[in-house]
Symmetry: C2
């Protein structure tokens, strides 16, 4: 495939076009990703998440600038959970806003939910592979991190940076509790605000429950003034060294691959179930009967599964 050849030679436009194909669920995509897979695995993939308003984008930009000074090529994938209700998007202006946009050593891309069946995670992983094969040294996956799906996406990274802010308040302790366990490195951004030390103490206390060998460092930063960003990057790079030295990198990537294999399989089985308009209509008719209590959902789902596994169609 010509696009793949161009990608492997470092053609930025080829990378962008291949990611678009992934986003659009182009039928040729699986073969393409399968082909380039052997050229991947070199980039360091860093997931960045945290509550809305924690300044993830600014921090990502500063980290990127620092890496550029080290002559590293960097990709930023901003995962963008659009709302079907407001039509708005949280990270929508991500690309326009960043002054990194003109740097040829930086690749920025927004990925949006398109109502795919679990497709955003797969699409994001596909984009990461394309950028990896394209030859980037670092790839950031930035998500808003309020939902399970975003957590799932960010978990696919080698290193997860959790961005917190002072004074989140007790009300969202619960959110923290739900997502904190995935952090390998913690940043308390906007640390010039009141309560930064208290937040640090709270996070450290939660981390005391952590039983792994790696103790996630908690770093105070003020991204907008570029304060503490260098130390934070060192922590991220130290985590990478740790992963490599202990063999945990392969272990972690194995676990992530396991999840990806099953997600891909599930996705393709889903397509077999509701891939055509006919399938969709049939299920709609069944569902109405279920709603009216003329059939039950268990019997019908059984039939669907049997149909697929017997390849009757």
């Amino acid at each position: 495939m010509e696009l793949v050849e161009r990608l492997l030679k470092g053609d930025k436009r080829a990378a962008a076009r291949l990611i678009t194909m992934v986003e659009n669920n182009d039928p040729a995509v699986i073969a393409m990703l399968s082909e380039i897979y052997k050229y991947t695995g070199k980039a360091e993939v860093i997931g960045i998440t945290g509550p809305p308003g924690s300044g993830k984008s600014t921090l990502t930009d500063k980290l990127t600038k620092l890496l550029r000074k080290q002559n590293k090529k960097v990709g930023i994938i901003a995962v963008d959970p659009t709302s079907p209700f407001t039509g708005g998007s949280i990270l929508g202006d991500r690309i326009r806003m960043s002054d990194l946009n003109t740097d040829p050593g930086v690749f920025i891309r927004s990925m949006g939910t398109r109502g795919h069946l679990g497709g955003l995670a797969l699409a994001t992983l596909g984009a990461v592979k394309i950028l990896d094969a394209y030859g980037l040294d670092y790839i950031f996956i930035e998500t808003v991190g309020v939902g399970q799906s975003e957590v799932d996406i960010v978990k696919a990274a080698d290193t997860v940076l959790m961005v917190m802010v002072p004074g989140l308040g007790d009300d969202i302790q619960a959110i923290k509790a739900g997502i904190m366990e995935i952090g390998d490195v913690f940043a308390i951004n906007k640390a010039d605000r009141e309560g930064a030390d208290r937040t640090k103490t709270e996070i450290e206390m939660m981390l005391d429950f952590n039983e792994g060998d790696w103790r996630p460092p908690v770093k105070k930063v003020v991204a907008i003034h570029n304060e503490g960003v260098e130390t934070l990057l060192e922590s991220i790079q130290r985590h990478r060294t740790y992963l490599e030295d202990t063999g945990e990198l392969i272990e972690r990537r194995s676990k992530n691959s396991e999840r990806e294999i099953l997600d891909l399989a599930q996705h393709s089985l889903m397509k077999k179930m509701v891939g055509t308009e006919e399938d969709k209509y049939e299920i709609k008719v069944f569902a109405e009967k279920v709603a009216k209590r003329k059939m039950d959902p268990y019997t019908i789902s059984n039939e669907i599964v049997e149909k697929i596994t017997n390849k009757k169609d």
Copy 2:
């Protein structure tokens, strides 16, 4: 099945035991749920969600007490997203805390994530059916509503009550944007706090984008002082009347059934993929090869899907 007979006669302990079977993924569960399905559909199912700290539990308790005065039997299912990291749980003490616990006309149950493959939603829907067949008039499904999975659970209700609080701040506008579209009725709890009117205005403004025939009412309440709860319940009941009068109830339940059928099918296909220890081991071995770039995930997932759909095993 003896338990089912007892359930249909209104035996509370039978209901509790059947829900435990659902939670434990007991192999007999599907046949049981399939059997009782025709006795369901009578209860009004109300999903209650909103950010942590918005006072959902208190509000649910007050609504329940009001319904009890109307001689209605009420079930409360608190969906409880435990954290694997802290071991803690948000709604864990839900049952112990409620003084409704001694009322024989009230059934309270916590459902926790158990690391099932998407099993929490299915287990919750199973529990709803059991309580419906048991003969309850109203069933509340209460979730913390920070994640997609909780949103999915709550969407399975006939009516969704979104609980907000004043002064959530701009930072979590995003959370609101992501989940607000599912609300049929909005409560602004703790409305004696500063900013309640501003929050109401903000919500009303977002609702202006809503294109449906039903305009979700936004009600100020102070659950802890029982203020506004009666009016709120009237709004909930008016939504029910609306659903019935317009035929939307069947439409909505059809959509929910569609999702449930596909979830059930997906769940059972997943079991075919990783149901046995052998399957799991095999995928682990493959995943390690993928992590080492000796194989690619696309080819492997294809093989797994083919194996399942050809029933080679």
